[in-house]
Symmetry: D2
Subunit: 434 residues, 4 copies
């Protein structure tokens, strides 16, 4: 089970837990509100899950790990739902193949919403009636909230992918405000380089509150002096790479990345298309011209790395990233989060302070050149939750900092996200180091 | 273009054409009425298309071949729909890959229904305002009706497949009447053998009215004397084959069929599952115990052929089937059709006349041991409709007689259906010959 | 077991059987004599088997069906060879996957030749010592000879494919004679059309001697009058189709053929390549310029059919082909066979009689538009040899007449060869009908 | 280009370079001497290359990087060989697909040996005639020798795999000496744990002579105190894991490893098979009973990691491994190398010192839990040799220490080998840490 750092979480007052629970649950459903039932059922690629599935799977998590264990007399909503909505827990028996999630039209969205209401009522009752639940219950409650927030990010990115497959380029939501038309040239000056001194730094979770088990144990690392750019790479920056033929020159690429460029015909980030000789990209607001000053996003590790090579720089390691974040006090800086409903990383103001480090948190997940491995002293929990993180700790790369699809309360400087090097459907971006 | 036999079709009075058009169109929508929007969008295997797609594609057919050609000032519903809903006409440009039909949540069902209404209104107006449309228009009108009826059959079978993939085994419709519980033993006596004398017979379309181009030219064939069974093979008959180990003995099987038995793990017809040691099958009414006296259905050619080998008999050729159908006057016999809303082949009465030939039309398509090839003198039409039938005339087998998912007015004794030997999701059955 | 027609084969004198046996066996080895050991082991595509495998498999056939059954005290050469060299007989147990034949470097060629010598000695001894073997033995002996001849044809075509994969374009054998350089234009006049009157014809094996079971039972067919061309389609003819854009126009193609044209990038027959803007083709004698007057070969059914459509004609059915062959007395006409060691279909003389029907036998297998199905009354034999032909009788097309890689004594007018519609590595050609 | 550390290599006297060159080249050919031509051409899986290809590719390396650049008037052996024998250098143009290496019977082994002789003669002449070649020439000469040694290891392991695919289990070489029959129980006592103190250590190449570019730059790392076992995990150790059901319990496995266990049916290390209820394994000497005291080998990272989890331990990181190797003075310890011709890791003597660290070098490559990434300051060389290492620096894991198939002079404590986590055909083994 993902561990809670140091001192055990003090059971908060019932009201507060319930309020948090209801807020998080409501946020998941609010994300799906603009969808039609048809949008909630399809799975256009293996990485994407149908929104209906996310809504049900998160509910299954509450039912399985909390209600069945701690709510006396809890009545299961439907006997088949455990088979239908288990994601990957071998401990909990067989389940629908991941590739088949998009073939199941039933249960329909309405039944999934009834499932959510059933579970929400039971959990509210449990919290209301039982003031003295064991500490493990509250740890699971915290974990369930974090888990549901993770699926909120996936909902945001999976919905984008689902809508993108239609040639109609449908908008998930209208643009709420007048977005400045894309200027012919960028208003941002060149990124500046910020030095971080070398030394022994402590990395990993070292604060109060919740963390995932993969952020532990905190440990010391020797870090050589390095520099990083004060902002994310922009679309204007990246466009220069595209136009310089970056996708046609193998010298910048990892071998397995170059194979993908050729077999998949990659010519630009995911969602970029040309219309009338201008690059556009599909967004939650339909097809939009490229915003030159906004951070480039939807790039794979291979593209991030190739861009860095082309630019004569490199990506950060995760230790460097966390060290820089602590060094520059990232925890206090603003950023674009899920709650903004922008669903797109946002440009810096043209007058942003060139000596400050921007966009470390929010906007885009930053690919690091660090494998997602266990920290020293990491141990898998016993039972089903031991499968939460540990079994993925090879063959993937760490991303840091959260994105415009991450709930703001979900992130920390020690937070470790991870994806395979070829993935592009998350809001992934690039920061350079040297 | 699918040809109309012999004398050109006399333009009927407008009222009659319009009434037929509206009846056929209404039937397609009625078939989808019990569905939820979620059911209309998924594609759980390549052969199946989403119901939403069927509703749109048939509409596209009217728009493309009739309205754009014959309705002055017709305004296209949406410029992208031709790309989205063209099925396989290379003549009409690029289109969504067949494998991607189930990834498109948009346009949603509501928009497709609006598309249907738009086209229906335009066609009704065209028929009302223009009494003197050219003969080719009426030929296309007839073809459009036939085409839409073909998709009604696919709707019925695709919906069944879609609902079957859910472990919830949802029912498309309740069983309307009390269906007798399955008796422990069959009430039918053994099938009897009916002889057909040899001779030169004329096969192919030779009546008045509409036929597809693949039923032409009618031609004479020398047929040796043969016998056929007076009814379809029943579930009880087939169960004996299953229980005798028919799926474990390669000697009965074509080589490519045996490969499928092993790689796909076939142990019984599609939709058969065991519950409490009894064979059940998924139907439009949910999971039901096997009805022993009903015709076996959802078998591939390989299974039909293996069964026949095991039973010491063989399948008919399509020439034999048509000869027998003409010889026994099949045109007049009853059968189960789409209009019955039973969606299942029905048992013969226990006292059915053993000297008559039953179930030739309706209930189940009968696999023949005849390749789907062009008849002598066949010619592909010019233009897009030349792709309607001709390009499929290799590697498939002919099926005859229609099924419980076929509109009754759609079938003829000369009608040639065709599928690859491994297909099982249609209402396909078996009749023995020797 | 492949049947022997009508009267049982009279046991011939030992000398004659032995002489035939030794001649056929020697011919297999002579075909491999120009090969290096390296050439005998590879399998560059699934349809091709390593020559070493052919030499061993044919030997396994003798050992399994004759020596083990009829030679008292016969000692098996090696206990693992039955597993290694069984081709597709489920009756005879498990075996190496077809796809893995090219991964086995051992046993090496030398051991396979020792295996052949061992079996040849045992069979010679059996024939020498036992004059009164049962009739079934001689039927199997005949079948073994026919079987080995079939593999000689495969050896010739598989060797060609194997050598073709090297960019070195190695020659199997030097061109023995001065082959006329390809003239800029063809010296042949246009093919003429020969009529065949309609009527009831008898098809299938109806002579004395051996036939395969798939040529039985002979039966009568009603044939409509038709015309066929007096020679095979030439490279010059086919080049006109290529240059007219035949591979870029879907209208001429079966749907599944058109898919292959696009996914495989077909632009010409197998083995055709352009060098210095001239079409060449890989042959047993290395890369050669196209011989304009020679029959086109190495085309799939799809290409043969598309060519015929483009030319405003069609292919023959197998009944028409056999009827024509009997009508024109094909049995007496010459042709190019394996024994010529030319390994290439040969041009007609420019002064060939335009009223005679040429090239029916030898030169190229002629694709027919007939599915490879059982004849009326066909029955699979009991035991392993029931798998020889019967289990392939669906999804393939019949080819007739033999080729330049067929032993001359192997063919008959009733002989039915069969391949899937996409196969191109045999010496397959085209004859037009209308 | 792989870099040479610190001070440039002083041009050695010609004699010495030539002698080394000839010794290395002779070693490659000696490895292939026991093979038949058939063995040199097959490619039973994608990771394996035909021995003929290795012999030619290493020769192509000399021709391309040295002779063409530095030998005036050098005449290329064959114009097509650059296409045939380039491995993965995009800089050097198109090449045979890796998957097709086993389809090419030509050029045959004899021609490849002639190619080797041609190049060897030219290189000897170059060394003899030109005493004053530039320093870069000698750097390339060194690199060519190292490169050929790497292919010697691949030859040894690829040959093993090739021979293993035959059910005949052929021996590459007889066992030269009486190998003790496997005792029923292990004679080794339990492995002991050796502590390594924490501190700041310098890792990466820091000696004189040659290293690959991936060993640079040497850099300091903070290492926490740890313990490692004094020897490799043995077959007896691993057998306990197998017999305890380790391959049937997902809890020990990484998720992607568990998928492989199930889809590939893994039940034991590669090459293990049961005969008469005893585990045997395929070796260069044919099928042999498991030697209980020998190190387990041919395990994937997934198996190494699962074993460590089961044993309550973990794998080392590469930094820990190198630190331990330097700490215990691995450079001086013995081990089993390619030169021993044993082709199998060897047991420790039963009386080996339990306080010493054994088998760090030689015997088995040790999987580490470290991703194969660039060291700080790593830069790809310009030109084709920039593709030598750099483009593989993601998605693979580091292995350390060399194996019984590694030439002894090829290894260093800073040497970094790398493979994907699923690979098993190298001599890979396990050492535990905690």
């Amino acid at each position: 089970m993902p561990q809670v750092h140091a001192s055990p979480v003090a059971p908060r007052v019932v009201q507060s837990w319930l309020a948090r629970y209801q807020a998080v649950r409501a946020q998941s459903q609010a994300l799906c509100a603009p969808l039609l039932p048809e949008d909630t059922v399809v799975q256009p690629m293996l990485d994407v899950s149908p929104p209906k599935w996310h809504l049900a799977h998160t509910t299954w998590f509450w039912e399985t790990f909390l209600l069945k264990e701690y709510a006396p007399g809890y009545e299961q909503f439907h006997p088949e739902y455990a088979f239908l909505f288990n994601s990957y827990y071998n401990s909990l028996g067989s389940r629908v193949n991941r590739a088949d999630r998009g073939t199941l039209s039933r249960p329909p969205l309405a039944d999934v919403l009834a499932y959510r209401a059933h579970v929400d009522a039971a959990l509210a009752a449990l919290l209301a009636e039982h003031n003295e639940l064991p500490a493990t219950f509250y740890e699971l409650l915290e974990l369930g909230l974090q888990h549901e927030q993770q699926h909120q990010e996936l909902l945001a990115t999976d919905i984008k992918y689902i809508l993108s497959t239609s040639p109609l380029a449908p908008a998930y939501a209208p643009l709420e405000e007048k977005v400045a038309s894309t200027p012919a040239t960028s208003s941002l000056s060149k990124a500046s380089w910020l030095p971080v001194p070398g030394g022994i730094y402590r990395v990993g979770f070292q604060e109060e509150g919740f963390c995932f088990d993969n952020e532990l144990a905190a440990h010391e690392m020797l870090v050589a002096p390095f520099e990083l750019q004060n902002r994310l790479v922009t679309n204007a920056d990246y466009l220069a790479f595209v136009e310089a033929g970056g996708y046609r020159d193998f010298r910048f690429w990892m071998g397995e990345g170059w194979d993908l460029v050729q077999t998949q015909g990659w010519e630009a980030p995911l969602y970029w298309v040309q219309r009338n000789e201008t690059w556009h990209r599909f967004t939650h607001h339909g097809l939009q011209a490229i915003a030159l000053d906004a951070p480039v996003t939807h790039v794979s590790f291979y593209e991030a790395d190739a861009y860095a090579n082309w630019a004569g720089a490199r990506l950060l390691t995760e230790v460097e990233w966390e060290t820089a974040a602590r060094y520059f006090g990232a925890a206090t800086s603003g950023g674009t989060w899920l709650e903004s409903s922008r669903f797109d990383p946002q440009p810096l103001p043209a007058d942003a302070d060139p000596t400050a480090c921007h966009q470390l948190l929010g906007d885009c997940w930053e690919w690091t050149y660090s494998a997602y491995h266990a920290y020293p002293g990491y141990e898998r929990a016993a039972g089903a939750l031991g499968e939460y993180n540990g079994k993925f700790m090879v063959n993937q790369l760490v991303l840091r900092g959260g994105s415009c699809a991450t709930p703001e309360s979900h992130i920390r400087v020690s937070y470790r996200n991870f994806f395979h090097a070829d993935k592009r459907w998350q809001f992934t971006g690039i920061r350079l180091a040297r």
